[in-house]
Every structure is written in structure tokens, then in C-alpha cells.
Subunit: 343 residues, 2 copies
């Protein structure tokens, strides 16, 4: 099987594979019994993120268990922020010991050399790549700059992330300084993941739905474009996943990504009509469908597959799988997508 025959990579390149590939956001995590055992055994989740042998084991779990078509690096959105000097603990989500809010805080962020400061992540990439069969690509992972900024300025999770959203109005120049540093971090980190063996990368922008179209144009788009331009020479597909941001949809074609991740709140047909090109889509089953009956899971999966027929498409959920999702329903979804081609 050459790389162009790997369905996931074919779809990333804008081709329509014979069988629609599928992977599932948060496929390597709490839905898996072996993961929960590992987590209990090691106590702290940081140990799982920061130990290459454990992160490798977790990254590989869903490949055999679900039969998905791609692996995604088991790491956390906040992992690279520790290298900047932002300390946090899990309680249970990340809580930063002090939020990054002032000019002095931002000036104090350390320059990051991924090979030195995030070597354990790159070592995981290399270990996973060696362990995976050649037919299963590995997707690298980073948060997008706006999303990372919302976390470190807030100092933890939030529905509204008012701290960084306030900064963009109160001290826009400072907000841009922070986004500038975070963009360099993300571009360097993703480049290093690709050099270590990642065959695609996904930029998660889970907070970006909080921005209005004009705010997106000023505080998200230029930084996403810069990152995509820095990755472009490496000839490795970039998937951009903006959550809850369909009000900004027309802007997404300018980002420079190769694949657009859709959340469940937009129909694939509607997404197609808003783009004048054939940008590949990834998504977009409502994760809550996986709480439903077998029949509803199959029907909803078929509905999406029908809509995407003839379009380059990677099946996925529209957001991460919920931890309490019945495992057999995830397996049913993967099988349903794989069996669809024959219909």
C-alpha cells in the first residue's frame, strides 16, 4: 500500500477514497477500559501525557480496538504551555498556578525549542510511528493560538473565557503579542511533530466560536495563516477544527488548511455550498448520537455518508466522544462507516 492508497491521506489530498476513512476525536481516552485501568494504575494524568511509553500505548489502543483508520497523538492542549513556563495541575481539568495577564507575564514566557523542551512528545511520535503499521497514519496535534490564549489568560477552563476576550478590547496590542508568541510555539511544535513522523496535523480551535466575524479576522485568522504557511513546505496535510464557529464559516477557506473539521451543527451539503472549492471535510456526527439506539446510529452515519458522497471526506464526530459513551456504539459506528462503500 503506497501512501496515496491510504484512505485518510487520500481524502486529505482532496481525493475520494474507495472507503471513507474514520477516526474519532478523543478516541484514545476514557471510553477505553484499558485506558481507564492505566490511568488508575498511574494515578496522575500528567504521567500519562508526559511518559512516551505510556502515551504511545494509549495512542495505539484505538487502532486495534476500534479499527479506526488513523491514530492521533495522545497529548493535551495545554502540554506545550508548560514549556513556556505556564505551570498547571489537573483538578480535574488544567488549572494554572497563575494566569498570564500582564505585559510582564507575556514578556516572561520562555522561548521554546520543541526538540529540547517538548522532547517527550516528539519521542512519543517516533515510538508510535515505529509501532504503527504503514497503512495507519499518525496525526499530530496542537491547540490553535486563540484557544491557547483563552486558557492561559483565564488560568483554567471557562464557558466564556472573558479574561482574554476582555484583553482584546482593553489591550489589543498585548493580545497580539501573546498570539504572536503562541503562533511561533504552535508552528515550531507542529513542524517538530512532522519531522518526528506525524503524517498530518490537526489544529484544535475549541474556543474560537466565541469570536464575532470581525474579531476572528483580527485575532485568529492571521495567526492561523502564519502557522499554515510555516507548515506548507513540509507537504503535510493540516486539519483545522473550529468548534461552534459556523457563524465564521466563510472565513475558513482563507486559513490555508488542507482539511476543514466540521462540528455537528452544519450540514455537509450546506458547507459545500459555502465553499467554491472542493476542500476536504472531516466530521461531523453529533457525539450525542452515540448515546442512541443502534438504528439511530446507523441512520445518522448513513445520512452523513450520503451527503458527503463524491466529496473528499474523513468521517469523525463533530466534537470529542463523551467519556461515558457505550464502547459498543463506537465500534458500531466504525463498522457502519467501513461497510458503507459496498452499498
Amino acid at each position: 500500500m503506497t501512501s496515496t492508497e491510504i484512505p485518510f491521506l487520500e481524502a486529505c489530498r482532496g481525493q475520494v477514497p474507495a472507503t471513507t476513512p474514520i477516526w474519532i476525536m478523543r478516541q484514545a481516552g476514557r471510553i477505553l477500559q484499558p485506558y481507564r485501568e492505566l490511568r488508575q494504575h498511574h494515578g496522575s494524568i500528567s504521567t500519562l501525557f508526559n511518559t512516551p511509553e505510556l502515551a504511545t500505548e494509549i495512542t495505539l489502543m484505538p487502532i486495534e480496538m476500534h479499527g479506526v483508520d488513523a491514530a492521533i497523538l495522545f497529548t493535551d492542549l495545554v502540554t506545550p504551555l508548560a514549556a513556556l513556563g505556564c505551570e498547571y495541575t489537573y483538578a480535574p481539568g488544567p488549572v494554572f498556578s497563575s494566569p498570564t495577564r500582564t505585559a510582564a507575564d507575556i514578556a516572561a514566557l520562555r522561548p521554546v525549542v520543541p526538540e529540547e523542551d517538548l522532547g517527550f512528545v516528539l519521542e512519543t511520535v517516533r515510538m508510535v510511528r515505529r509501532a504503527l503499521p504503514p497503512s495507519i497514519p499518525l496525526i499530530g496535534y496542537a491547540g490553535a493560538p486563540f484557544t491557547l490564549a483563552t486558557w492561559i489568560v483565564q488560568g483554567g477552563s471557562s464557558k466564556d473565557f472573558p479574561a482574554f476576550r476582555g484583553m482584546i478590547h482593553k489591550e489589543p496590542a498585548l493580545a497580539h503579542q501573546l498570539l504572536d508568541k503562541l503562533s511561533d510555539l504552535v508552528a515550531d511544535f507542529l513542524q517538530a511533530q512532522i519531522k518526528a513522523g506525524a503524517q498530518a496535523v490537526q489544529l484544535f480551535d475549541t474556543s474560537v466560536g466565541l469570536l464575532s466575524p470581525s474579531q476572528f479576522g483580527e485575532f485568529a485568522l492571521p495567526y492561523l495563516q502564519r502557522i499554515c504557511a510555516r507548515i506548507a513546505p513540509l507537504n503535510t496535510p493540516i486539519i483545522y477544527f473550529p468548534l461552534a464557529a459556523n457563524h465564521n464559516f466563510p472565513h475558513f477557506k482563507q486559513v490555508g488548511a488542507d482539511v476543514l473539521g466540521l462540528d455537528w451543527r452544519i450540514g455537509i451539503k450546506q458547507a459545500q455550498t459555502q465553499f467554491d472549492n472542493r476542500m476536504p471535510f472531516q466530521g461531523n456526527l453529533d457525539p450525542c448520537v452515540l448515546y442512541g439506539s443502534e438504528e439511530s446510529i446507523i441512520n445518522e452515519a448513513h445520512r452523513i455518508l450520503q451527503q458527503a458522497k463524491g466529496h473528499p471526506h474523513i468521517f469523525n464526530l463533530g466534537h470529542g466522544v463523551f467519556p461515558d459513551t457505550p464502547y459498543e456504539n463506537v465500534k458500531l459506528l466504525v463498522d457502519t462507516v467501513h461497510q458503507f462503500a459496498g452499498k
Copy 2:
């Protein structure tokens, strides 16, 4: 001043008042020093919601302090749920003692007679109405059925509310039973508020952004329509405020509300182009603008006022004011909106 000369009510009726009226979501609450003192003095927030004299005092505070053009009843989204038999405490947000998840749980929800079971709220409406000058209308308040369902099925706050979203896939008939009961509650409660003296009512749908367009059509729209149809004979304007739901925008004209509350993520011009009628709009300043400089507050307010010129418009934020917003900035916003007409 006759009722048609009250700017807020003129705008609700589709007219363009000489001066744009303004009120602010969560205007009666933690941004006000006298509120914080009252809260500290009485300890529990339930006491403030459930004691007509205190709720009246709080409802009236922003009228004098900010100079806003309408009062909104100080009550909580979950207040009417207690009458159904759903018990909760504040920690600090509402946490239900047991979530409503099974057919038996839903069957056990008690029928509510607002005059008996929610009399303290109606007493607040009457007291506020007596205390307010005739030029200041009082807006009644209820959560929309989908939003109320997400809260009682989850049993508390959540970013994603997976419990009720799972129920709509797993047991859709049960989900409809619950929405049915909640819709009757909301319609009865709003009718009672209107009979007690509320001159407009706002339906808050803060969770509805989680629904895809087809889910909105099935699990939100018919219930909203039923409520609006039940209110229509009372000839009292209904404001529908869906949060983070601009992907469902084309459906909103079918709801049957008189005014659409816009969150900050859609431009007023864009909202106008999506509606073929002249539905009045309420909104839509990003609440985070109020963390910014005087200049940026004035500029952003003017931008919205310019866009809405000639259209029936009630100025408001695009979501509730954040508790740590500088008080003087709220005052500046109100003055800026009032002074705009002369420009």
C-alpha cells in the same frame, strides 16, 4: 407619555423610536454594589430570588443607577423548576439533588399553577410594577423549554449538556414528553407574569446553540411556537433570545416572537438580510467590550447604532454582563446610546 411613546415598547411593536432604548441582560445583579451588599447581608441567593420585597428592590436598582429604559424581573432560570418538584441548591450555580432522567422522573413532575406555586414571583411583578414610573416597562422572564430540559436532565450546569442531548437520540419520545410539560409550565408562567403586570416577556434559550438545524426543528421550534401562540392573545411582546445559535438563524422567523435577541456573533446588517420582514432586534454588543477603554466602548456602541439605524432596535449586550465589569463602563454605555439620537 402614552404607552406607544415608550421607546422600548415602540421598538417591540416594530416602530423606530426617536431615541434607541437600552437595557442590559443581568443589569440587576453582581455588577451593582448595593446588590452585592444585599447578597452578603442575606447570605443565600435563594432568599433574594424568593422574597418579593428583596427581588423588587434588586429589580429596581438599575433603573435609577444606570438609567436603563426597561426593568427585567430579578428571578432565576431554574426558579419555576422548583415548582415541578425539582430540588436544587446553589453551589454557586444551581445543582439539582437528583437529575430528571427516566420516564418515572418525568411522570413525577408536578402540575404547576403559577398563582399558587410561583406566587412569590407574581407578587414581585406586582410590587415592581407599582414602584416603577409609568415610562419604564417591566420585562418578564422565563427559560425556553429546551434550555430548561438541559438543566434538569443534566442536574446542573455543563458546557455540553450531554444528558438531555443524549436523551433526544436514545429516547426521543421521552424527550418530547419532558419538553411538552416544560412548555406548558413556561406558557402558564409567562401568562401569569403578564397578568400580574409584565409589559413584555423574554424567553432565554441559552443552551439552544447546541442543536443542529434539524434538531432545532424537532426539539425546540414546535415548543417555542406553542408558547408564542399561547401568549399572542395577551397582546404583549415576546423577545426570543437564543445564545450562540446563529447557525439556526433562518429558523428564528418561524418562532412567532415579536423581537429577536441577537448575540454578539452576528452583524445587525447580516441579520437583516436573512429576514424578509422588519422583525425588531435586540442586542448585540460583545459583553467583553465593557472591559475595554472608553473610546472602544463608544466606537463599538456607535457601530451597532449605525447599523441598526432605521430598524426597530433595542440596544442590549449580546449576552449577560460579566460580574466584574467596571460599573462606570456600563453607565458610559447607557449614556452613549441615549446621546446617539442627536448625532
